[in-house]
Each structure stands twice: as C-alpha cells, then as structure tokens.
Subunit: 164 residues, 2 copies
DNA sequence: AGCGCATAGTTTGACATCAAACTAAATGCT
DNA sequence: AGCATTTAGTTTGATGTCAAACTATGCGCT
C-alpha cells in the first residue's frame, strides 16, 4: 500500500469543496466525446424539467415540431429526421394520436405508409412547448455567449453529419 | 385539402436525393438543444462501434478511466464524476469486478462505502480502450478542425457546469 | 449510551431506446 | 399472372438509465 493509495483513504481530505473538485478526469477532460455527453445530458435534464412543468416530455417535442413543419410526413421519414429508430417512434406517435394532437391516416396511393399531421389541439400544445423551448435556448445562449453560438451549432451539425 | 398539404402527397417529389434533404427542421435547426442531441448521438454511435470491436461498451469505458485515475474512489463519487445516477453504476461496477478488471473492497473506517481500484488486468483492457478512444477522438478532431477544438470543448464544459 | 438523521450502496419499477424478427403492402421480374 | 424483393410500420427482447424505496452503516446531539 504505497503510492497508488490502493487501500483506502483518498478523498478523505475534502472538507468543504462542493464535492467534485478533487476528481481527476484524466484524458476524459480533454476528449470531445465525454464532454459532449456531459453537456448533452445537462441540457437535456434542464429542458426536461422545463417541459415537465407543462406536462410534456422532450422526446415528444421534436417529433411534434417535425410533423408540424412537414405536414403529411411518414413515420420513417420522421424517425430519420429525428435521429431515432422507427420502432421507437411507434409508441410516441401512438400517444400523440391518442391525445388528439396528431392526426394519422394511411396514404391513398401507398397504404403501407402513414400520413401525419398536427391537429389544431396539437398546434396549441406546440405553441406552449415552443415558448418553453425558447426560454431554454435563451438560457443556453447565455452560457455559450452570443459570439460563439453560431460557430458552435455549425460544429455540432458537422459532427452529426460527418462522423464515421 | 388546400395549402398545408394535409391529405397526402408530400415528399413524393424526392426522386434521388439521399433521403434527408427535403425535410424542414423549422426552429430545431438553429436550436442548440436539438443539435447537441444529434451530435452526441452520432459521436456515441461511432464510438460504440469502435469499442464493440474489442468487446467493450462505451459506458464501461469512462467508468474504468475514472477509477484508474482516482484510485480508491467510491461509487457515489464515481457516479457523480460520470454524470450518472449511482444506481446505474451498480451493475456496471459489478460486471467489472466479476471480470476481474476492478477490485472492490469496503473501506476500513467507513464500512458503507466501497473502495474501487483497477487491477492489472483492468489496466490492460483500459489501454486497449484508450487506443480506441484516441482513434475516435482523432476522427472527431478532423471534423471539428484544430482551430476550434479547444473553444468547442470549453463551451461543452461550460454547458455541463452552468446550465440551470 | 441511545435515538434520530445522514450517507453509501442496492433493489425495484418505469421508460426510452435500439436491433432484429415479423406483417402487410407495393414493386419488379419473368 | 405469380413469385421474389423491397418497403412501412409494429412487435419483441435486451440494455441503459433514472427515481424512489429500501438496508446497512455511521454520526451527532442530548
């Protein structure tokens, strides 16, 4: 039990600092992947809290926006746009339909594919969610800073599009 | 059935473009939250594939690094550093112990908390994973560009730390 | 010493997600 | 027309995650 402190001890020394500071992140600290995950998680949690206040979940939000912006979109297209597997979408869309926020009918020419549209009720919910999202975004902007914001988003898009 | 194209049609017009282009992302396109999620997802998938090649999962990786860098760390500290709930860590640590990559013993002074250390076998796996992660990071760097990389990570850290 | 509160870790139940198998419909080839 | 292939969506099974309830220890106050 010498240098590496293998037995115990460690961290005993922290007598006030708000818990985190004494952690050594090693290479994680300067790796993009790890920081990307941590940031995403934090932002997601924040938005989750916000949208919960109006009884919605973040997952449904992007879905609703995409349907509203692309009337008649199919579930497969939607899942692609949304970056989720089509099977994940089944229950989400089902719920939106059940609650009357989205209207779903089979296409006339191709009766395999659905044709999704936001109902007036859905538009109302969407407006509330959008307000909520805007608040969230303002918050993020404040942290990021107006100067870097645009470049930051550009890089995110590039990663999403070009990785692997 | 007028302007909004509510009935059907839509997307019929796409006759070759690689599927995505005709989607209207509306406000999502310039919101940080959505792009953050898409980028994270893409990067995660890429790393997932890579680490699968050597029979590991991305989730275990950060855990292993953190234990290696903080010998004797407890599970709660670990979960905090890792940005995950402590309960999520139970099965992960269990598996690492079972496979002999991590050594877990109770602390002497406080027998509630565990004391985690990476074993020599764990260090070998960690080295492989680290090589793998470095390849992944090089890939990300290529996409981000050397010029913006530092600032980009700084912003991610800021978001993780300061949101809400 | 004893009692109540705090803390470390586990268990449990709910969910979101993916991937692979499946069903139904359309398309193409002969 | 008939059969193989492709496509849209659903079902199913495995994972990973959280939050809340729980167990056990330890700590503090009287």
């Amino acid at each position: 039990m010498h240098g590496t402190n293998g037995t115990g001890g460690r961290r005993r020394g922290r007598n006030g600092e708000a818990f985190g500071p004494s952690i050594n992140f090693g290479p994680l600290g300067h790796w993009v992947g790890f920081n990307l995950r941590m940031a995403q998680e934090a932002a997601f949690q924040a938005f989750s809290r916000r949208s919960q206040e109006i009884g919605e979940s973040p997952g449904r939000f992007a879905t609703l926006v995409l349907i509203a912006r692309n009337p008649g979109i199919s579930q497969t297209e939607l899942s692609f746009a949304n970056g989720r597997d089509k099977s994940s979408l089944t229950p989400v869309v089902e719920e939106l339909v059940r609650r009357g926020l989205v209207d779903r009918k089979k296409m006339e020419n191709d009766r395999r594919t659905y044709c999704l549209n936001v109902t007036p009720a859905g538009k109302k919910v969407l407006m509330m969610l959008t307000r909520c999202a805007r608040r969230h975004e303002r918050n993020l902007d404040r942290v990021i800073g107006e100067r870097d914001r645009k470049r930051f988003i550009q890089i995110l898009k590039k990663i999403a599009a070009e990785i692997e």
